[in-house]
Symmetry: C2
Subunit: 454 residues, 2 copies
């Protein structure tokens, strides 16, 4: 460009009415009306309409004839107020348009494999993911990840309010974190190593250092199944709190973090969510708390006996939906906390209830029919931990760095974790967790479909 | 405890003078003076002195006799002002002490393998790491990670000031990110996959979505060497910026982020750093910028000909020290930016200078003798990218999701990345980057030494 103009974002254009500015962005839609060409230009702030009139600039008009969707361009032009009747209220820049005097192509694009100009992107999931580098640019998709960014901000803010120190822990581990076969093996120089199933053991160790910690890490699960709720690699948000006086303190922290995230995001993105038909969440002052047993009784009654989970070891997906419906109807709450799951159904570090060791001091936080977070108070006595490991056929020798923390005094503690993708999915009521991951990994896909790969 | 007292942190005790409180923490030092027992209690806020007097509580005294370092305990007692002469000015709680009326052991500790009561922890690195779950608790070590936490905060804050969106990208990849053999292989279901060497390709893709992005991720390097500066797994801080007008815009962003981090951390931890004999950093208004060639000429002259790097392809460790000494003496700056490295010495995505394709539009930011950050303007033209890949014997078929972004219009862009551990190391002037990682991974260690593992 010949002129040394500062770039203005689409959303800022109304402040520049009557002035000459420079824009950068991608062509979202190009409409050729013969005498005039209209461009919907997308930049990081939103959309702006550009008008190209050959009477204003022959040259710009020539370039505009060549433009196609996703071309990255630079535009110099004058910001004009639109007539009252032409104001687009759906757009931050809708009161103005830019009359182009110069257009420069910064990067060309091939013909798109599908239409990206509609408000919704109606593609089957495999296509959505096969063309991920392109489909992420569609406003309805990129918005998912603006919301995800806010989920993370809200989590950090809640963790900091709880006085947690942020820690950074590794993802390569010498042994399978929590036992079980669902781990990915890594060739680590001349040795075998594994990708961690969670930052669990490290965050517990760090309670000995900072008492209260939070960490954002990647968790890897080699589950050989394809469901709408599971990914092979997720971003996990973890908190661990030491020197707790009682179990309820953990539930307070869990509910504080869970409701803070949902509340912050729902407020910041209220317009987006309501435009998607998503209702404002019901966030009670006090989240209803039920033991698993109590929840099962309620489900039995609430479903008028159609579903009888009493005596089962866990809630299934249908139960989670039912108990959330109950909480909404009876307690005016989209959240419900379920506690006291059977010890043998939870990981080895969950502490058995001293009054009934068959039951653990564990919990799940449910939101609108889905588990958002899971956790427990932990076994913090070294000898008890060794005994449990042996009972579960885990080799304490594989956990020596972890056990060291308990050998040297670890106070009563507990914690919980959230999955970033699942939080995003649930807030946006997406039908598949893959839509809530920029580049989802599962059994069948690592960017490309694995079946198709070399 | 019988009484329902709210817990008070060590640092808060001066506000509770004359009142009864509850403390939680670990025994750092226990001094038995016969008639009195003194405890230095450590909690997440710092230290507090507890006095146990049998005349005040026979029972507490009995428990105190049993205590050893790293026992986790609960103390109930009265906060007493210390006489003027006994005030410990080195301690936030130094004007008071707590007279114990009750002590409860929450978790016992084995006899420590070494003394943790000194101001410094004088251990050889292997011992420091063999006992990592314990040594991290030493105030001189845990302080490293409080500073690390602040480094991360400062990075995020700078990235947000640049208007970057935070993105979350995967670490499992179908092919080696940047080519080369130094990758860890993962058994991914029935396929081979790799741990990413950096989030590079994904952050570039995301420029097409959000223009400006930042991401905090793990980077894996299977370098078969053991140096004081490299780890096999690091936390990497990445920024990528699209629609740049010129190369200098990238240098401005790089220097803004680099100096912001150092400046924020140095201010927040000024006391800690000065107590370690670390000088305040010299942060100039304008970081000196030199091309590699200019830097080599200066090194030659500045070393009075003792070192002649002219014509070499890169700066070695000694050169980086020398050019930083020069910047400090001549430019009053602890920072210096070196630009224009040979194209063949940089990764394939670095853009060759159109005026001289042998040289790339690349840069390193140095701080006090060490490279803090590295980056470049990128090749953003699809055809040029394919040609470079082929010239470098890289198979474009292994990069199809990446190439897709360029197929559909990616504007001029560039970026840079920092290593969290290296930043921490350099701020604290640590001699080995392992000290700046909570749980360092290298060729010889994954928590335990690999030679010793099963």
């Amino acid at each position: 460009m010949t002129k040394n103009l500062k770039r203005v974002l689409a959303s800022e254009t109304p402040d520049f009415a009557g002035r000459e500015i420079r824009l950068n962005g991608w062509i979202r839609i190009r409409r050729d009306h013969g005498k005039l060409i209209f461009l919907d230009l997308r930049d990081r702030s939103g959309l702006i309409q550009v008008v190209v009139n050959p009477k204003v600039s022959e040259e710009a008009y020539k370039v505009a004839q060549e433009l196609r969707p996703e071309y990255a361009i630079e535009v110099v032009g004058k910001v004009n107020k639109r007539p009252e009747s032409a104001i687009n209220k759906g757009l931050a820049s809708g009161a103005v348009e830019v009359e182009a005097t110069e257009i420069k192509i910064l990067a060309k694009a091939e013909t798109l494999p599908f239409d990206m100009g509609e408000v919704k992107l109606n593609l089957e999931l495999p296509t959505l993911l096969d063309y991920r580098s392109l489909t992420l640019r569609h406003p309805s998709i990129s918005e998912i990840f603006k919301i995800q960014e806010e989920v993370m901000k809200a989590f950090r803010s809640a963790a900091e309010k709880l006085n947690c120190t942020e820690i950074f822990v590794p993802t390569i581990s010498a042994s399978a974190t929590e036992g079980g076969a669902e781990v990915f093996k890594v060739k680590y120089y001349e040795h075998d190593a594994y990708l961690t199933q969670s930052p669990q053991l490290y965050k517990q160790i760090m309670v000995g250092v900072f008492e209260r910690v939070y960490t954002i890490s990647h968790a890897y699960r080699a589950e050989p199944s394809v469901t709408t709720r599971h990914l092979s690699e997720v971003v996990q948000l973890d908190i661990e709190i030491g020197f707790i006086e009682n179990f309820d303190e953990l539930l307070d922290a869990l509910e504080f973090v869970g409701t803070s995230i949902i509340s912050d995001v729902s407020k910041k993105f209220d317009k987006t969510l309501s435009s998607l038909g998503i209702e404002e969440p019901l966030i009670p002052t006090k989240v209803p708390r039920l033991t698993l047993k109590e929840a099962q009784e309620i489900i039995f009654k609430f479903s008028s006996g159609e579903r009888d989970p009493r005596g089962e070891q866990d809630l299934n997906a249908a139960d989670e939906k039912l108990i959330c419906e109950w909480a909404r109807e009876e307690k005016n709450s989209d959240f419900v906390t379920i506690t006291h799951f059977p010890t043998k159904k939870r990981a080895f570090y969950s502490i058995p209830d001293p009054k009934n060791p068959e039951i653990s001091l564990s919990y799940d936080l449910l939101f609108r029919g889905l588990e958002l977070s899971s956790g427990s108070q932990r076994v913090n006595d070294y000898d008890q931990l060794i005994k449990i490991m042996k009972d579960r056929k885990l080799n304490p020798g594989n956990f020596s760095m972890y056990l060291q923390a308990f050998k040297y005094g670890l106070p009563p503690e507990g914690g919980f974790s959230f999955g970033l993708e699942r939080l995003t999915m649930q807030i946006l009521e997406l039908s598949n967790v893959r839509e809530a991951s920029m580049f989802p990994r599962d059994m069948e896909r690592v960017d490309e479909r694995l079946s198709a790969s070399k």
